[in-house]
């Protein structure tokens, strides 16, 4: 395996040092940019109610856990998180499985009308959900699936499918075609070739697609609001939207809730990180 090129550079060169330094500065700026608003939410979530709008000081004199108490113990948010996990996991599994099959067919197999299929799948992502939500809801209601997690999961899978298919098609296409033909010559069916040869090599693409589908499903609000009705099925964004009263918005609670809702995804990103970063160094093509 070729050594990472960094090590080939002369050690201790000034431009090298400057480039690294610049890189760290840039990274720090980016981190600040990404985390800034969330840090502010964290501060808000521990401020006592009376201090919520006092600015200065940025950091409160005393911190309180009441917002987290109300959010975690006094509201159905934890149940909603569990629902979100189920829905998002289901949507991810369905989307990746179905999407990778379809992407493989589009990338490697000689079917007719590829542009049409890709185009039609893309149309799903082009049409605004607000116009689609009414007919979809009525269909679900007729099927008796209103207020079920399965309906929501499937809906999310379908609406995330275009991104998954397009992404995976691109990744699979970039893999050398000899791999596939070699597997076929060895006697694999196309499906087996896909599962045993192609997909392991497309891991970064799969990991990214899975993460994006999961996050899409986790964050999705409009379908979740419409297709669920009770605490048992509500997902996290809908639960957060239920915090405000008619006029009153409990800002501290809302801040706590928004952090609680974001953390599971952050954890998941950690898990997926390994797979995304695996890249060519881990699963390289030899020769």
């Amino acid at each position: 395996m070729i050594r990472p090129t960094e090590e080939r550079r002369e050690a201790g060169s000034y431009s090298d040092f400057r480039a690294t330094g610049l890189r760290w500065v840039l990274l720090a700026v980016v981190m600040l940019f990404c985390i800034g608003p969330l840090f502010w939410q964290a501060v808000t979530s521990v401020k006592p109610d009376a201090d919520l709008v006092r600015l200065p000081p940025i950091l409160p004199a005393e911190i309180t856990a009441t917002h987290y108490e109300r959010v975690l113990l006094g509201s159905p948010l934890v149940q909603a998180l569990a629902n979100s996990v189920v829905v998002a996991a289901g949507a991810t599994v369905v989307s990746i499985v179905v999407g990778s099959f379809c992407a493989f067919a589009l990338a490697r197999l000689p079917i007719a009308g590829k542009s049409i299929i890709l185009g039609l799948i893309l149309v799903t992502s082009m049409f605004p959900p607000i116009a689609v939500i009414s007919p979809l809801y009525l269909v679900m209601r007729e099927l008796g699936l209103r207020d079920t997690l399965m309906a929501l999961s499937l809906t999310h899978a379908v609406y995330a499918l275009p991104l998954a298919v397009w992404l995976l098609t691109s990744f699979i296409r970039q893999l050398p075609s000899e791999l596939y033909y070699a597997a076929r010559v060895d006697g694999c069916t196309p499906l087996r070739a896909l599962l045993t040869v192609i997909l392991p090599l497309a891991r970064p693409g799969l990991a990214v697609a899975a993460l994006l589908v999961f996050i899409f499903s986790w964050n999705e609000f409009m379908f979740a609001l419409t297709l669920t009705a009770s605490d048992a099925t509500r997902t996290a964004p809908v639960a957060v939207a239920l915090f405000p009263g008619l006029y009153e918005i409990p800002w501290g609670d809302l801040a706590a809730a928004s952090l609680v809702v974001t953390l599971p995804v952050a954890g998941l990103a950690l898990v997926f990180h390994r797979h995304i970063v695996a890249g060519l160094t881990a699963g390289s093509v030899k020769g």
């Binding site: 940019f33 007919p135 006697g187 974001t262 970063v277």
Partner: protein, 311 residues
């Protein structure tokens, strides 16, 4: 895993499915799912756009293209178009540029696995991980003139004398929404582009370095062309999302002040669910679809020559 070596006689090959059939079998589930849960409701919406449907007046009649003709002469529609296109062009461009920069940064960082790399990647994902309704509330809180952190920091730094009313000024409001969208969606672009960067073989860079190519040349000759398919996907999907942007603007401004930030989706939402004009609202939604489709087609055509294999 060592595949079993079987000799494929002519008879054996005929018994198994042909490649083409396999292709259809594998593509079928996606097609069925999309057909039932997406294309069918879309068709219903399209059909509705050809009707006058006013439940309050108990009107439900087929009128052909009348809604679309009304659309063309509707000033509010054109204003919303302008706002939406402005939002789309600005936010997608900024997100792509920043996303690429971020991806390059992370790519360099993650060449060697390290805890800082892991943390960096997780932190950059965070804005994307926040649900839009929540992040809109977060930024609404940030933009407040009196207790918003943004104005406080600007005042402390001496950049402004008094608080800026980000959302109160018709000229500034859309930029405030764009800033929020950029914060939220740059990680999405960065993640896609990072995956694309990871797929570029290192040996190409090494060969170029041996040939004496500098950083910019390496970027222009190797990275950019190989990244084009991913850039295209990022552009297409981000554009489609930006054309359909709703929560980000609705929670911040409700389309105001004075309809200055009314995007097409807000206009469609109000028409559908406030004024209860289902036919006209569906026509508005179709117009959004046409715009998104036109932009995507434009990208595909323009960047076609950069793709090695075109769809």
């Amino acid at each position: 895993m060592v595949p079993r070596r079987t000799s494929m006689t002519g008879a054996a090959m005929r018994r198994t499915l042909s490649e083409k059939s396999w292709g259809y079998v594998l593509a079928a589930p996606a097609f069925i799912l999309v057909g039932c849960l997406a294309l069918a409701p879309i068709a219903a919406a399209l059909w509705l756009s050809l009707r006058h449907r006013l439940p309050i007046l108990a009107v439900d009649e087929f009128v052909g293209a009348a809604n679309y003709l009304d659309l063309l002469s509707d000033d509010r529609f054109w204003a919303a178009c302008r706002t939406t296109l402005y939002f789309t062009v600005l936010s997608v461009t900024i997100e792509l540029v920043l996303g690429l920069g971020l991806a390059l940064l992370l790519h360099g960082l993650t060449r060697r696995p390290s805890p800082s790399a892991r943390i960096a990647q997780v932190v950059t994902i965070l804005p994307w991980a926040v649900p839009t309704v929540v992040s809109a509330q977060i930024w609404l809180w940030l933009y407040q003139p009196d207790y918003g952190l943004l104005n406080y920091l600007l005042r402390q730094a001496g950049v402004v004398a008094a608080s800026v009313d980000w959302l109160a000024d018709p000229d500034w409001a859309i930029h405030a929404a764009i800033a929020m969208d950029v914060w939220k969606t740059t990680p999405f672009a960065a993640l896609l582009l990072l995956a694309g960067l990871k797929a570029v073989p290192e040996d190409l860079y090494d060969a170029a370095r041996i040939d004496g190519a500098g950083w910019w040349e390496r970027f222009r000759m190797i990275t950019l062309p190989l990244l084009m398919p991913i850039i295209l996907i990022t552009l297409v999907f981000r554009t489609m999302d930006a054309v359909r942007v709703f929560d980000a603007v609705y929670v911040l401004t409700g389309g105001g002040p004075g309809n200055a930030t009314e995007t097409l989706s807000i206009y469609a939402y109000k028409t559908l669910f406030q004024s209860l004009q289902f036919g006209y609202g569906s026509a508005l939604a179709t117009a959004m679809f046409v715009i998104a489709a036109a932009l995507s087609t434009m990208y595909l055509l323009l960047l076609r020559r950069h793709l090695r294999e075109v769809p």
